[in-house]
């Protein structure tokens, strides 16, 4: 009996091996795109849609004939949000799998852990993480697709100024996102002038009540508006407390809560608040003249049809990363790393889901603050303001 099973297993392996060989012959010399993403672990809300996006569009591009007549091959590892793992997998992608370009790095920690390796190996790397440090100072081989939190802060502060609100009460989470956002908001206020922070409160990631901080801000003299920089459930609680306290001041949140999940958590108390967000949340209200409209609509409908789940802003970062990589390889006419890097750096007017990318030697992000749209919550839905 046992012998039979082993013999059968042997046959199966032989067939599988033959199949693999055949596949290899068919897909001669593919372009290898490496990726390490946080598909599991605490940052899986980033990595999961990112991986789904990469898989789906690599498939689609291959069906349409590939790039430069070559098929794409996605080599992917899950770093589980752990920086040491990210470094290991980056090393594996570069040295063992010998990929042509890397699109990945869901979190800032994972990205920064891989950066020394990438710079040393001289391989183009498009990161999907947010923080300013990734592209400032500019690193020769490192690019990124999401806007920085600095841009979000500038966008919000500009909208406040346009409404004549110049005395801001700031409240922020102490997590990575919130504290970096707080820092960038303070820096942006310094640089812009004509607007000031009159209160500066924080809350912990697992706090369940922020009425004390909000009361402090409300009783601060002259405060005209409140901005919350935070991530996860904290901002939803701030929003609920805000409504419970009956604060009448205009209220702003950051792009950290720009998801439908937040609307469900915050309920009707979110009505009237504004935030900077990707146009992906409101594709149908974009004007026809907006060059991003067709790209955003196509991505949203294709993703939702394929995965049967809501599209997310984070997946869009991966979409833009992949499309930038494809454009650069096409422009370079080869997968020569130096040529692809130069092509990436010279990309102009690339219309993506997140925004329009204009790369240059001293800007490896290529987005402007106005790639964020200001949205307002109205009747439990998003409304485009500008």
């Amino acid at each position: 009996m046992f012998k039979k099973i082993t013999r059968r297993a042997g046959k199966l392996t032989a067939i599988a091996a033959a199949g693999l060989l055949a596949m290899n012959v068919q897909a001669a010399d593919p372009i290898r795109i490496g990726s390490f993403l946080s598909v599991t672990g605490p940052a899986s809300f980033l990595g999961d849609p990112e991986l789904k996006t990469l898989e789906m569009y690599v498939e689609k591009i291959n069906k349409d004939g590939g790039v430069l007549g070559r098929q794409l091959e996605l080599v992917h590892y899950d770093d589980a949000g752990n920086a040491s793992k990210a470094r290991n997998f980056a090393s594996r992608l570069i040295r063992s799998d010998r990929v042509d370009i890397i699109v990945g790095g869901s979190t800032t920690g994972a990205t920064m852990a891989a950066v020394p390796m990438v710079e040393q190996a001289k391989i183009p790397f498009i990161s999907l993480a947010g923080a300013v440090v990734i592209t400032s100072p500019v690193k020769k081989w490192v690019f990124k697709t999401p806007q920085t939190d600095r841009m979000a802060a500038e966008r919000v502060l500009n909208d406040m100024k346009a409404r004549g609100l110049t005395k801001v009460g700031l409240i922020s989470g102490t997590g990575g996102f919130g504290s970096s956002g707080r820092e960038q908001t303070l820096a942006a206020v310094q640089e812009m002038g004509g607007i000031e922070i009159v209160a500066d409160e924080t809350y912990g990631g697992s706090d369940t009540d922020m009425t004390a901080q909000l009361t402090n801000i409300r009783s601060t003299e002259g405060v005209q508006t409140i901005l919350n920089f935070g991530f996860g459930q904290g901002p939803a609680i701030v929003t609920r407390n805000y409504a419970q306290l009956g604060i009448e001041l205009p209220f702003y949140q950051s792009h950290g809560v720009a998801s439908d999940g937040f609307l469900e958590l915050a309920g009707s108390s979110a009505d009237g608040l504004r935030l900077p967000a990707s146009p992906l949340l409101v594709p149908e209200s974009l004007p026809e003249s907006d060059p991003q409209k067709p790209v955003v609509e196509a991505y949203k409908s294709e993703y939702e049809a394929r995965w049967n789940s809501k599209v997310s802003t984070f997946g869009a970062y991966a979409y833009d990363g992949l499309m930038l990589a494809v454009e650069a390889i096409e422009k370079a006419g080869s997968t020569d790393k130096e040529a692809v890097r130069d092509a990436l750096e010279s990309i102009q007017g690339h219309v993506g889901v997140t925004g329009t990318f204009n790369m240059s030697a001293d800007d490896h992000n290529g987005l402007e603050a106005d790639s964020f749209r200001i949205l307002e919550v109205q009747d439990g839905g998003w409304k485009l303001i500008n």
Binding site: D78, S84, R92, I94, G109, M112, P116
Partner: protein, 335 residues
């Protein structure tokens, strides 16, 4: 009896040295050197933890905290204050020793679950501080670490070095360095085990009451071994940071503490070579299983579960026990 005992330990050390220095003959990919270097450094910390867990029978679920403290102290001193790596490593280790002694004295009075809870809390506190002191540690986004340097001579995984007239890559140089560090760590640990301190520790493991009745100062020895194992973690953490070039608070996380203790249990508590095998298995498995994508965690869990069910004493003790039994049986058959 005693002679054969230490002979066995010496054999283990020689065996380890042969494996470490023979490995480069089989490695062709620099990625594997990086992995091997990491394993050697983590194994060093596990050898230290084994002194506490395997020999003194005390548990620590917060050891990654000490590992992280060593890594961050060295990173901060070398990058912000221009210290050289070695003084940073030594001062960091002394600092960790003092902290470990200060917290170890009271919490080692606790036993069993209470001791695990207390060490767990220590680990958590350290991780929270590293996460929240953004101005100093860079917070959850982590911070870069300069390469390891000795008297102005830098050891970077990306450099090129000549050793005995041979050109070697930075990866190989780091690997050899980490291998030597691991050998020294094992040698020190085995000397400690065979010393009067080691015997006192084993008596504490056997029965704390009996040990104190025959005059062993159990409190003193327990905090001593706690400090020693914390220093092991701190030193290895500092080197790990320099090797990685970038650290985040995940080096001090609860998950990592659990990983360390799992290496000890899986490899075989109280067996220095065994726990190194535990470290190798737990670091290599995820890399091997990475090709299975979604099935990775399932297979990882299954392997751990089966090992614990069929080899409850750990990998190495079970295997040597099995071999000894077979040898005894075949010897009996001959007679």
């Amino acid at each position: 009896m005693m002679a054969s005992f230490s002979q066995f330990r010496l054999k283990g050390l020689v065996f380890l040295a042969i494996v470490i220095f023979a490995l480069p003959l089989f490695i062709t990919n620099p990625f594997h050197y990086g992995l091997a270097t990491q394993i050697a450094l983590i194994a060093g910390a596990v050898v230290g933890l084994n002194l506490l867990v395997g020999f003194a029978g005390q548990i620590s679920l917060g050891h990654a905290g000490f590992f992280g403290m060593g890594a961050y102290f060295s990173a901060l001193m070398t990058s912000n204050y221009g210290w050289s790596a070695i003084p940073a490593l030594v001062v960091g280790a002394v600092g960790v020793a003092i902290i470990a002694w200060a917290v170890g004295r009271p919490i080692l009075r606790l036993k069993g679950h209470y001791l695990s809870m207390a060490t767990l809390a220590v680990g958590f506190i350290i991780a929270i501080i590293l996460n929240n002191e953004r101005e100093i540690t860079g917070g959850p986004d982590g911070m870069p670490v300069p390469p390891f340097d000795v008297f102005g001579w830098e050891l970077s995984p990306f450099g090129q070095y000549s050793l005995f007239g041979m050109e070697i890559s930075g990866d190989l140089a780091w690997y050899l360095f980490a291998g030597v560090v691991l050998l020294v760590a094992v040698w020190l640990a085995q000397n400690l085990i065979d010393s009067p301190i080691g015997r006192a520790l084993r008596s504490v493991h056997g029965s704390e009451v009996a040990a104190s009745v025959v005059g062993v100062n159990t409190a003193k020895y327990k905090s001593l071994v706690f400090v020693i194992s914390a220093v092991y973690a701190s030193v290895m953490g500092a080197l790990y940071g320099h090797f990685q070039g970038f650290i985040t608070p995940s080096v001090a996380s609860f998950d990592f503490s659990i990983l360390l203790i799992t290496m000890v249990v899986l490899g075989g508590m109280g067996s220095t070579i065994g726990v190194i095998i535990g470290a190798v298995v737990l670091e290599v498995l995820p890399q091997v299983l990475a090709d299975f994508q979604e099935m990775e965690m399932v297979m990882f869990g299954l392997i751990l579960m089966l090992t614990m069910i069929f080899m409850p004493k750990g990998l190495l003790p079970t295997l040597t026990g099995y071999l000894n039994k077979r040898r005894a049986r075949s010897a009996g058959g001959d007679a």
